[in-house]
Symmetry: none
Subunit: 240 residues, 4 copies
DNA sequence: CATGAATGAGAGTTCATTCAT
DNA sequence: AATGAATGAACTCTCATTCAT
C-alpha cells in the first residue's frame, strides 16, 4: 500500500490508544451500549458546534437525551469523552480508502493518489481535526496523542523515501526522516488551513481541493527529485 | 531584503494591527506608562508560564505588583492584554536581523540565509508562538490575526518566486502563490514542532537548529527547481 | 456477674435494639441469607476502612460482590446497614468473657477484673466504636442508640455502688447514679482515646492496656472509698 | 492560678494554632475586617443550627449577607471557616474567669472552684463543643486539634497532681499523668453528656449543673485521696 | 491613578436511590 | 432474587469584572 502521502496528525494509530482519563467500566448491557454511543455522537456534534472549551457537559447530555449522572456512568470527564469521539474518527482516518494504485504506476502517480486520499480523509473529519488542534494546544495529554500519531505517519513516509533513494529515484542527499517530517508538515498544515481555518480570504483566488493535490504532489516530487513521470518506471514506492 | 524564506505565522505585520478588544485610553502620565509596561511584561511571563487559559488576571497583577482595579485602567480584558503582549514581540519578529546577503549570492544562498534568520527569530519567541497557536485555535479574533500575518508573508514569498520564474530560475509550472503557501506552511509547522511542541521524542535522533535550516533549504531549492548553486547567478530573490 | 466496671458506650444492650431506619423483609431463602450476610460483612470492612461518611454504597456492594439493586433488597439505606453492622458487634460486646470472679474476692479485685474485661472487649471492637462515635455525633437516631446503651450500663453500675454503700464499703455521700455516670464516663472516654484516637502522642510515655486497667481501677476504688483490699471482705459487688 | 479542674477538649491552646486549610490573605481594609467578622459570626450560628455537615456555604453567606465569591475572599473552605469559628470561641475557653481562690483555700476548695469554672465555660460554648466533637470524628485535622488542646490541659493538671503528691496531699501511688488523663476524661465526657447530648432522658432525675460540680469534685478529691477539707491546709494546687 | 472588596453566574462532579428488565 | 442503567438534586469553588473609596 502506498502511503507516502501524509499529513502529520492522524490516520495512523496503534490499535488501542486514547485514554487520557480515568477509566470507566464499559457498558454491560445492550442498552448501556446504545446510551454510550448516543453520548459519543452527541458529544461530537456539540464539540463541532461549540468548540471544546465552550461545550458544556450539559449540552452533551441534553443532546443525548440523558441526565448528567448517566454521563458519568460512561465517562469520567470531558476529556474522556473527547478521546472517545476522536477514537471513532480514527477508524475513518485509518482507512482513507486507498485508491487503485496500479503496480506499474510511477512514483509520482503513487504520491498523487496517496495525497489525494489523505486530503479526502482530512476533509471528512475537518471539524474534528480542528478540534484536536484546539485541544492539543491546551492539554498535554492530547498534544502527546497528536504527536504520536504524526510520528507514525512521518516514519512510514520516511521508509518510503528511503526506498526511493535506494532505487535511485530520490535525492540521496536528503535525510529520509527529516525530509519526511518536513513534507508531512507541509501537507498537514496545508490541509488544516484549507479545511479548518479557511477564512475565505477575500483577497485570494479560490483554491479547490484538487488544486491542493496538484501543488503538493508537484512540490513533493520536485523536492525529492523524483524523475519526471514521463519515463515509465517501476513503482518506486512500495509500502510495507 | 531577502525574505523568500518564510513561515506563515509571524514576522510580518503592519505597524499596528493587534486590537481584538475594547480600547482603553493610553496612559497620560509617566507613571501610567510605567504601570502599563509592567503589566505587559508581567503578562508575558505569566502567559508563558501558565498558558493563556490558566493564567488568571490576578496572577498578572500580582506579578506586576498592582491591584486588579489598575489592570482595567489599561486593558479591557485578558484578550486585550494578550494582544498587547503579542504586539511587543512583533518588533522582534519584524527585524529578524536580516543577514548579509551579498548581491551576487546565488538564490539558494539567499534562501538559506533567510530561512536561518526566520528560524532564529522563531526560536527567540517560541513560547509566544506557542501561545498564539493556542489562542488562535480558541478565539476567532486571534485566528484572524494569525491568518493575516501569515498571508502577508506568503504573498511576499510568492512575489519572490514569481521573479525567479521570470528569470528562468524556478519551475514555471508552479503557481507562485500556492507554492509559497505550501512552502511557508512547511517552514512554520516545522518550526512549531521543533521549538514549541518539542516533545523530545525518544525514538528520534536529535535534530539541531542547523539541521533544520539545511533540510528546509534543500527541499525548498529542490521544490522550486532552482538550479544548483554551482553556477553563480544573479540574486534570484529580491525583496520589496 | 460483676459489671461494676463500665464504660458508657457499649457492651450492654437489649437483645434487639438497633433499627433506626425503614425496615426490609428479612431474607426468605437460603441464598438471600447468604447475600445479606455478605453485605453486612462487606459493610463492616468498608466502614472501618473508609469511615461512615466516605463509604459509598457502591464500595459495599462491590466488596460484597453484588449489585446496587440487591442492596436495597435487604437494606433501606446506609444507616440501615450500619445499624445491622453494629448489631453484629453487639454480640461480642455483650459477652466480654466475664472472668472467674471468686465469690470471696474483694470489691477491688472484682472491679479490676471487670474493668479489664471491658477494655478487652472495647479493644476488639475499637474500629466500630470509633465509627459509632462518628455517627452518633451526626445522626440523632444513633446518638440515641449510644445513649441508651450507655444508660443501661450506668444503671447497672449504680446498683452495684448502692449495694456497696449499704454494706458500708463505699462512700455513702455519693449519689450512686451520678457517681456511676461519672466513673463510666471516665472509663469509656479513656478507652476511646486509647484504642480509637490513639494519636500516638510523641510526648507521652507509652501506656499499655494493663496500665489503663490499673490506673482506672485505682481511681475507681479511691473515688468510692472502697476499703483497701488488704482486709479481706466479702465481695462488695454482686451482679444480677 | 488553679487549674486542676479540667476537661480535655479546649481552653488551653498555643497562641496560633488552627489552620487546617489553605491560607487566605487577611483583610486589608476596615470594611474587609467587618465582612470577615460577619462571616465568622454567621458561620457560628449556622453551624450551631444545622450542624457541620448540613451547613451549606450558601447558608452562611446568606446569613452574612454576602455572595459566595466573598466567602472565598476570606476562607478557602468550610473547614477553614470552621477553624476560624473555633478560634473565636477559644478566647472564652481560655479565660474561664478563674474565680477567687483565697490563698489559704484547701485543695478541695480549689478543685471545686476550678471545676465549676470549667463547667461554666463549657456551658457557654456547649454547641460549639458539640460541633467540635462532630468534626473531630470526621476530619483528622480537627481531631488533632482536639487532641492537642486536651493534652495541654492534661499536662497542666498532671503538674498540679504531682505537686500535691510532693506535699503529701495526694495518693503517691498514682502516676500523675495517667491520673490526670483519666480524671480530665471524666470531666469532659460528663460535660459533653450534660450540656451537649442532654437527651433529657425521661428515666433519670434531673441533674443540675451544680450537682455535677459537686459529684465531680467529690470523686476527684476521693480519687486523689486528698485529705478532707476540714483541716485547713495551705493551697495544695498552685499553678505554673 | 490606584485600590481591593464584592460580585454571582456557572461549571463540573458525586452518589443515594429507583425501576425496568 | 438479582441486575445495573438512569436519575438529578445538590454542592463546592473559580475568576473576570465592577465600583465605591
Amino acid at each position: 500500500m502506498a502511503n507516502i502521502a501524509a499529513g502529520d496528525d492522524h490516520a495512523d494509530t496503534p490499535p488501542s490508544m486514547v485514554r487520557p482519563s480515568l477509566p470507566r467500566e464499559p457498558p454491560a448491557t445492550e442498552r448501556g451500549l446504545r446510551t454510550r454511543a448516543a453520548l459519543v455522537a452527541a458529544a461530537r456534534k456539540v464539540f463541532e458546534r461549540l468548540g471544546y472549551l465552550d461545550a458544556r457537559l450539559i449540552d452533551i447530555t441534553r443532546a443525548a437525551n440523558c441526565s448528567t449522572g448517566t454521563f458519568y456512568t460512561y465517562f469520567s470527564s470531558k476529556e474522556d469523552i473527547f478521546a472517545a469521539v476522536l477514537e471513532v474518527a480514527q477508524e475513518d482516518m485509518l482507512h482513507p480508502g486507498m485508491p487503485h494504485v496500479a503496480s506499474d504506476d510511477s512514483p509520482a502517480a503513487v504520491i498523487e493518489a496517496s495525497n489525494r486520499a489523505y486530503l479526502k480523509a482530512y476533509k471528512r473529519n475537518a471539524k474534528l481535526m480542528g478540534l484536536l488542534e484546539q485541544v492539543a494546544n491546551i492539554d498535554p495529554e492530547f498534544r502527546e496523542l497528536r504527536t504520536s500519531r504524526s510520528n507514525a505517519f512521518v516514519r512510514r513516509n520516511a521508509r518510503s523515501i528511503a526506498k526511493l533513494q535506494v532505487k535511485g529515484y530520490a535525492d540521496p542527499d536528503l535525510d529520509p526522516l527529516l525530509a519526511s517530517r518536513a513534507l508531512s508538515a507541509m501537507m498537514s498544515r496545508l490541509a488544516f488551513g484549507h479545511f479548518v481555518a479557511r477564512e475565505d480570504r477575500e483577497d485570494t483566488p479560490t483554491v479547490t481541493d484538487e488544486d491542493l493535490v496538484q501543488i503538493v504532489t508537484r512540490l513533493w516530487v520536485n523536492a525529492l527529485r523524483i524523475p519526471s513521470p514521463d519515463h515509465r518506471n517501476p513503482p518506486a514506492v512500495q509500502d510495507q
